[in-house]
């Protein structure tokens, strides 16, 4: 035991600022909730949250190029971390715009600080250089999400059931993660990623400790990413949660989870890659196939998008399994571009409504192309991007991860991936057919005119999906330059 006592670690505030801004704003939001009179709360909260995210994104941009490990070697601020934090901030803005819009089913104002806490946790998650900090970040990002899932005003039972399921299974997954950390500590006498890297091969302890620990750790992370066989929560939770929260989870949580997977595998376990890579490839294959096949028979739009997000998790894992800077860069690009498309798609879902809220059953969408051609066109565009049609970002990002996997020698993975992307194109195209070629249902859902916030979020999604499909160069360059982890 060290008798000199606790020493304050050096903090590189510039590098930590993106997270500090979010956490600070979240705390302020709690105070706002307590002291600002009710009618003013909503605009104040929404403005505060958006401002915090914009400032946070600004500080990420300012910190660009930083390569540092700070806070007592617990936080690593490097290329991937900053890229992912930037993505989280921008996608967070897009999702928050949906949450803030008046035309949506209004969520309680407490949602805003919760979202900020969660986003702050995600940013810490992708920068954690220490498994314990990573676990703390995991909980910081998860707990607010559990609450947010249960906040739906309509279909309250479904929403609360989703929250409980997510909480229970999340706790289960966290236990795996923590147990993995314990085993790895037993192997390496440390929970720092760099120490683990050095311990591999030089530690005298049994490799079973290392491998079992790594497996448990991965299970915890793959759960958050929604990979098969840890995906079962996804459709129920995506369906039950309020749609803006679903968008937040589909976009930002995915970014955070894959960011952490990349960091753990590349920084700490690079030398054991011959052990974990086959397992990762197998998981990727199963994830793509199960997600794609199950999407075929879905009848609820939000569940369909949930399975699509599972299949996409598999595609992203292809990039992770590609290893090396190319794999990292393609994964980063995929995460960012997919996030924009998915937030946009959920924004469309929010606008098509029945008397009792969003009309998510597929049959209600029949003939939408005739009644709201513009909305149907936008949604079609998103679906084509999901299907990976050229001139959309979906094509470039799929091409990127498959190319990276191929470079890494994972031919079988790419073959399965291409087949899966063919299978999953079917439900997307069927939806397009449904919108344009089917007779409209007589008492069909109404399409609400989007408020300014939702419109802004939709425009952001369309613009990003189109631009990243037509001129992907700048973002690809950025991802390539940001693909070096600091150890």
């Amino acid at each position: 035991m060290n008798t000199t006592g606790f020493t304050v670690p050096q903090l590189d505030y510039a590098a930590l600022l993106p997270m500090l801004v979010l956490f600070g704003a979240a705390c302020l939001g709690v105070l706002v909730e307590a002291f600002v009179p009710r009618p003013l709360r909503r605009p104040v909260q929404a403005g505060l949250a958006l401002l915090a995210l914009v400032v946070s994104f600004g500080t990420v941009v300012l910190a660009a190029g930083t390569q540092t490990i700070t806070a007592g070697r617990a936080v690593a601020v490097d290329g991937p971390a900053l890229f992912l934090q930037g993505s989280i901030a921008v996608l967070g803005i897009a999702a928050l715009l949906l949450l803030a819009d008046r035309t949506s089913d209004e969520q309680p104002t407490e949602a805003f600080p919760l979202v900020l806490f969660s986003l702050g946790g995600m940013m810490l998650f992708v920068a954690a250089n220490d498994l314990l900090i990573m676990f703390v970040a995991l909980e910081v990002l998860s707990l607010p999400l559990y609450l947010l899932c249960g906040l739906a005003r309509r279909r309250r039972l479904l929403s609360q059931e989703a929250a409980v399921k997510y909480f229970l299974l999340g706790a289960f997954a966290s236990a795996f993660f923590l147990y993995g950390v314990a085993l790895l500590y037993g192997y390496a006498d440390s929970v720092r990623l760099a120490d683990l890297y050095r311990a591999v091969g030089s530690s005298g302890r049994s490799d079973a400790l290392l491998l079992a620990g790594l497996a448990m750790l991965l299970i915890g992370l793959l759960f958050k990413a929604g990979a098969v066989p840890f995906h079962m929560w996804t459709p129920d939770v995506y369906q039950g949660a309020p749609t803006p929260i679903t968008a937040l989870m589909a976009a930002c949580t995915k970014v955070a989870a894959f960011g952490a997977i990349l960091r753990v595998l590349q920084v700490a376990f690079l030398n054991t890659r011959w052990d974990w890579r086959p397992v990762l490839i197998a998981v990727a294959m199963v994830t793509m196939v199960v997600g794609a096949v199950l999407a075929v028979t879905q009848t609820d739009l939000k569940r369909l998008l949930a399975y699509s997000s599972i299949a996409n998790a598999g595609f992203i894992l292809c990039g992770v399994a590609g290893l090396g800077p190319a794999g990292t860069a393609s994964t980063l690009f995929y995460l960012a571009s997919y996030g924009f498309t998915t937030v946009g798609a959920f924004a469309v879902v929010m606008l098509v409504r029945d008397a009792d809220g969003e009309a998510t059953h597929l049959s209600r969408w029949a003939g939408l192309g005739r009644r709201s051609p513009l909305l149907a066109a936008v949604f079609t565009f998103f679906l084509l991007a999901f299907a990976g049609i050229p001139l959309t970002s979906g094509f470039i990002s799929k091409f990127g991860v498959f190319a990276a996997a191929l470079d890494g020698g994972a031919v079988a993975l790419v073959v399965v991936g291409v087949i899966a992307s063919m299978v999953i194109a079917f439900p997307y195209l069927r939806l397009i057919v449904l919108m344009y070629l089917s007779e409209p249902v007589p008492d069909g859902p109404t399409v609400t005119v989007p408020g300014a916030f939702t419109a802004a979020s939709l425009a952001l999604g369309v613009a990003a999906t189109l631009l990243l499909g037509v001129v992907p160069g700048p973002l690809l360059d950025l991802a390539n330059r940001a693909s070096e982890f600091v150890r």
Partner: protein, 636 residues
């Protein structure tokens, strides 16, 4: 052949194409608003292009190498394939530019009167402009891809114009037939271009012609034959001639411009342009000659038996293009002779088609020459201009055809070996037949006693129609002598790799002997026609005959039957078989796979029970698997 970059007025070569293209775009996009002034715009763009072409022609004469290229932009930069869109203006393209824009402008003007009462006149002028633009691109491109784009463009314009009266089933069918038969030829051209690119890595004329001597004989012959197939399709040559007579379903100005003077000569242009390829393959040249000889005979024979004024002219076009093919197949100095005949033919055939249109205009759109007769008194201008064209086509001394056709016959006789006697003999015989059927046409239409149906009141056509006819008639009279005197051969020869002053020196039969023989057979043809159709009364219904040759000729020598039996029916059977394979085999496989995926999906869906306990169990199972997999690989 050396070339230089375009400067000065020549750097505006692209305007030649852009003008009619812009005209077409405006006319098509402006819609009904342009109905009142559309025809004027159409004539203006074409006429301006002619004037510009003339200015550029003289500018070209002043340049050192008499050949300029103008680089426009990188058309297709993909991998190894780099196609730069550039224009080549040399003596060959220059004469084509003047022919296309000159005759084109006259026919635009003529169409103002001819289409006056047609509600679709603006659309008609738009298509005509589109045609002119595409044809100019065809002759001005400096690479095979640009040529191909123009080639398809004129095909499209031809299709649209044949089917201009698309509510007539016969016109729609004829357009479809023309399009499909052209497609057969176009495939040949496309494959030839692929082959050249695969072998030489370039599609520019410059690069290809510089590298052709490196190709082996088999490749060269294949490329030549494929190019010939393309040329046959576009020019209505054997065995793809059957579409051209049917194309007369289009308005008559179209027949004059596209299906007589310009587009159908694109095949001749193609062979003349690719002369470095044909010069190296004797087999290829022989096939070109044979195709030309066979086609000119077919055209003449069928032309003798037809009663439809436009169809007779169409078959005479087929036959005259056969002469041109024969000429360019002979090679050497005969290339320029072929182009010479193409130009004179452009004048007299366009003139005669306009004359036929004028006759139809005055005769309630009737086309049966057995119901004409004696029209010279009622439409003298038409009869005289038509007559001058008639004298030109049969090769009456001093008229345009006399200069060009005699030279072809002379050159054909001069081909070494027995083929020279064969081709020369056919060409000579064809001249006699031409004299016969053209005399028959002229006698039945303009001379003799009227055999009209009761309701017609023949009258001369308006000024806008007669003026172009007169201009073209002047060309039919003087074109041959003037072009020769102006030095057309000296102008064209360098394109074909010859010295400017290289002329045909007939060794086998002297020019005088050939001329004498030709005059004799022509006189015989006229004489027989006179005896049969002016001395004797003409029945208004074609007499039933048992003579198999006449019957075959009336049935287009069974070309359609042959096409149907050889191509259409096997094609139908193939299509049916493929449909069967597709619906039973491919669809079965696809539907089966889809059903399998769907079934798997529904079964898997049942695992999604909604119970947290079963979800957790799945997770646990997965966790065990993952841990086991990692451990088994290393430890186990």
């Amino acid at each position: 052949m050396r070339t230089e970059a375009a400067t000065g007025v020549l750097s505006a070569l692209w305007v030649l194409i852009a003008l009619p293209l812009a005209g077409a775009a405006v006319l098509l996009l402006a819609g009904r608003r342009a109905d009142r002034w559309g025809h004027v715009l159409g004539c203006l763009t074409s006429g301006t292009a002619f004037v510009l072409g003339l200015v550029q022609f003289f500018a070209l004469r002043a340049t050192e190498h008499r050949s300029v290229t103008l680089h426009l932009f990188d058309f297709i930069p993909v991998g190894d394939l780099k196609v730069d869109l550039g224009l080549l203006f040399d003596p060959l393209s220059a004469v084509f530019v003047l022919l296309i824009t000159g005759v084109g402008t006259l026919i635009h003007v003529y169409s103002i009167g001819y289409m006056e009462h047609d509600p679709g006149r603006r659309r008609f002028f738009a298509y005509l402009n589109l045609f002119v633009a595409a044809m100019l691109l065809l002759v001005l491109g400096n690479n095979f891809v640009a040529l191909y784009v123009g080639w398809e463009g004129v095909g499209l314009a031809s299709y649209l114009l044949i089917a201009f009266w698309y509510d007539r089933p016969s016109a729609a069918t004829a357009a479809k037939k023309a399009f499909l038969m052209n497609r057969v030829g176009d495939v040949g051209l496309a494959i030839a271009i692929f082959l050249l690119f695969a072998q030489l890595g370039t599609v520019s004329y410059e690069g290809v012609f510089a590298g052709v001597d490196k190709l082996n004989t088999a490749t060269l012959t294949t490329v030549a034959l494929l190019l010939l197939l393309g040329a046959c399709g576009k020019s209505g040559q054997f065995p793809l001639q059957a579409w051209l007579p049917d194309a007369m379903e289009g308005p008559t100005p179209v027949s004059a411009l596209i299906h007589a003077a310009t587009m159908v000569t694109a095949g001749v242009y193609l062979i003349a342009r690719t002369n470095p390829i044909f010069d190296l393959t004797h087999t290829g040249q022989t096939v070109v000659c044979a195709v030309g000889a066979i086609t000119l005979l077919i055209g003449c024979i069928v032309g003798c038996a037809k009663d439809d004024i436009k169809r007779v002219l169409a078959y005479s076009t087929v036959s005259q293009i056969g002469y041109m093919f024969l000429a360019v197949g002979l090679g050497g100095p005969a290339y320029a002779i072929g182009i010479f005949h193409l130009l004179t033919h452009g004048f007299f055939k366009a003139g005669m088609f306009l004359g036929a249109g004028s006759v139809m205009h005055g005769m309630n759109d009737q086309v049966n020459i057995r119901r004409f007769g004696g029209l010279i008194r009622y439409m003298p201008v038409t009869a005289i201009t038509f007559g001058l064209g008639y004298l030109a086509i049969i090769g009456f001394p001093g008229f345009a055809g006399y200069f060009s056709k005699d030279l072809i016959i002379e050159a054909a006789f001069d081909r070494p070996g027995w083929t020279g006697w064969l081709f020369g003999g056919i060409a000579l015989f064809g001249a006699g037949l031409t004299a016969f059927y053209m005399s028959r046409l002229y006698f039945l239409t303009f001379l003799g006693k009227p055999r009209w149906t009761d309701d017609v009141h023949p009258h001369e056509s308006p000024r806008s129609m007669t003026v172009p006819m007169i201009v073209l008639a002047i060309g039919s009279v003087a074109g041959g002598y003037v072009l020769k005197a102006l030095g057309l051969f000296e102008w064209l020869n360098p394109v074909f790799g010859l010295a400017p002053d290289e002329h045909l020196h007939a060794e086998r039969l002297s020019a005088a002997a050939v001329t004498a023989m030709t005059l004799v057979v022509v006189a015989a043809g006229i004489g027989i026609a006179y005896a049969m159709f002016l001395r004797r009364p003409v029945p208004v219904v074609a007499p039933a005959v048992t003579n198999p040759i006449v019957r075959a000729a009336r049935n287009d020598l069974y070309a359609n039957t042959v096409n149907e039996a050889l191509f259409a029916r096997p094609g139908q059977y193939l299509a049916r078989a493929l449909v069967y394979v597709d619906s039973r085999g491919v669809d079965g496989l696809v539907n089966g796979l889809a059903a399998m995926v769907g079934g798997t999906s529904s079964r898997l869906r049942r695992t999604q029970t909604g119970f947290v306990r079963s979800y957790a169990l799945t997770m646990l199972g997965g966790a065990v698997l993952v841990v086991a997999a990692l451990l088994v690989v290393r430890v186990g």
